[in-house]
C-alpha cells in the first residue's frame, strides 16, 4: 500500500517534470518554416535580423554614460565573453533577487555599471544589443536554472502557461502542447519555444522581442496583455526556456 503510494507520487513528480526535462528536445519553430525561409534564416547575408545584430555589434563598442564605458570596457570581445550566456537566461540577479531576461540584464548593466539610462523595451537599440548577445550562443542548447532562487518564478510561469485565460478561455498549453504541430488557419502551431528571439517576424517586418510576441498571443485569445518586461511574462519566459531545454539558440530566427 505504502509502496504503491510512493510509486504514485514518483509518477506524479515524473509527470510534472516531463515538460521541462524531456530526454528528446522539442522541435524548434524553425521546423515549421518553409524551405525558403529556413534557408534565409541560416544565411547571414539574407537574414534581415542580422541588420539588428550589426547594430548591436556597433553598440557593444560604443562608450555610454558619464564614465564613457562601453560593453567592451568590462567584458572584452563579445565572441568570448557572451558565448553561451543566452542559453542561461532568464536568470535571477543575485544582488537584487530579480528575475532578469537578456533585455533586463543589458539594461541592469547600463544603469549599474555604465551609469547610463536604460534603453526603452522594444527600442531598436535594446533589440539590437539583445540579438547581438544572443547571437554569440548560436547553436548552443538552452539550459536555464529552474531551482533555487528561480523556483518561485518557474512555478509562476508554469501556472501561467497552464491557466485558462481570456474570452476564448484557452491556456497556452491548449495550443502549444495539445495541438502543437497541427495547422491553425494558415499557420502551424509551434511548441511555443523562445530559442529564436528576438526574432524577425514577417508579420511585423521587423525584429521583435519575445514579450512583443507574447502580447500578440494574449491578444489572440482576448486576454489581458501584460507589459513589456512585466513579471508575468518574465516568469512565462523562464518556463518557456525550461521547455526549450536542449533546443539550440537560433537568434535572430525568422518567424511568420
Amino acid at each position: 500500500m505504502i509502496a504503491g503510494r510512493i510509486a504514485a507520487v514518483a509518477l506524479m513528480i515524473a509527470g510534472a517534470a516531463a515538460g521541462a526535462t524531456a530526454a528528446e528536445p522539442l522541435p524548434s519553430g524553425t521546423s515549421y518554416l518553409s524551405e525558403g525561409l529556413r534557408t534565409q534564416q541560416l544565411d547571414e547575408a539574407a537574414n534581415p535580423g542580422m541588420l539588428w545584430v550589426g547594430e548591436g555589434a556597433r553598440l557593444w563598442e560604443l562608450p555610454q554614460g558619464p564614465a564613457g564605458r562601453s560593453c567592451t570596457s568590462c567584458h572584452g570581445a563579445a565572441a568570448d565573453a557572451m558565448r553561451g550566456v543566452a542559453t542561461r537566461y532568464p536568470a535571477v540577479d543575485a544582488p537584487s533577487g530579480d528575475l532578469l531576461n537578456l533585455e533586463g540584464r543589458i539594461n541592469r548593466c547600463r544603469t549599474r555599471h555604465q551609469e547610463a539610462e536604460a534603453f526603452a523595451y522594444e527600442s531598436d537599440e535594446l533589440l539590437g544589443l539583445t540579438a547581438f548577445v544572443a547571437r554569440q550562443s548560436l547553436g548552443m542548447p538552452v539550459r536555464v536554472e529552474t531551482g533555487g532562487a528561480a523556483a518561485p518564478h518557474y512555478d509562476a510561469g508554469r501556472a501561467f502557461f497552464h491557466r485558462r485565460q481570456g474570452q476564448l478561455n484557452l491556456s497556452c498549453a491548449h495550443c502549444h502542447v495539445d495541438n502543437a504541430g497541427r495547422p491553425l488557419r494558415g499557420d502551424t502551431i509551434s511548441h511555443g519555444l523562445a530559442n529564436g528571439y528576438p526574432a524577425y517576424r514577417l508579420e511585423w517586418q521587423a525584429l521583435g522581442s519575445l514579450h512583443r510576441r507574447l502580447r500578440s498571443c494574449s491578444f489572440g485569445v482576448r486576454a489581458v496583455q501584460h507589459g513589456y518586461g512585466s513579471p508575468q511574462y518574465l516568469a512565462l519566459e523562464l518556463y518557456l526556456a525550461a521547455r526549450a531545454e536542449g533546443v539550440p539558440v537560433e537568434t535572430p530566427a525568422i518567424r511568420r
Binding site: A46, L51, G54, L202
Partner: protein, 109 residues
C-alpha cells in the same frame, strides 16, 4: 527607423570568368503610403525607388522598387568576375536619402 544599415555580401576573391553571387540587404521601412495610423492620419509613403550596382564603373544591376516590396528589401543577383575593382551599391529613396556601400572584388587568374 533612425538607424540606416545595409549589409552586402560577396566573395572577396574570384577567378576571372567566374559567376559570383552578390547579396544586398538594407534596412528600410518601405512604407506604402496606403496605411493610416491609430488616429486615422495617412502615413506618408516612404520607399526606396532605385537600387543600382556599378562594377568597376560599369552598371551591372539596377532595379526600380515599388510599394509592393516588403520592408528591409533583400536582393540577390549574379555577375561575371571580369577584373579586380570596386562594386558600388547605391540605394535611393523617395525622400532623396542615398545609402552607398563600396566593396572590393579581387579577380585572380
Amino acid at each position: 527607423m533612425t538607424l540606416v544599415a545595409a549589409r552586402v555580401s560577396l566573395p572577396s576573391e574570384a577567378r576571372r570568368g567566374e559567376v559570383v553571387e552578390i547579396k544586398a540587404l538594407i534596412r528600410h521601412p518601405m512604407e506604402t503610403g496606403y496605411r493610416v495610423d491609430a488616429r486615422g492620419q495617412r502615413i506618408p509613403r516612404h520607399i526606396i525607388r532605385r537600387f543600382e550596382v556599378a562594377y568597376d564603373g560599369e552598371p551591372v544591376f539596377a532595379m526600380d522598387l515599388t510599394q509592393g516590396v516588403a520592408a528591409n528589401p533583400f536582393v540577390a543577383f549574379t555577375t561575371v568576375a571580369t577584373a579586380s575593382g570596386e562594386l558600388v551599391f547605391t540605394w535611393e529613396d523617395d525622400r532623396g536619402e542615398v545609402v552607398t556601400v563600396t566593396k572590393t572584388l579581387t579577380v585572380t587568374g
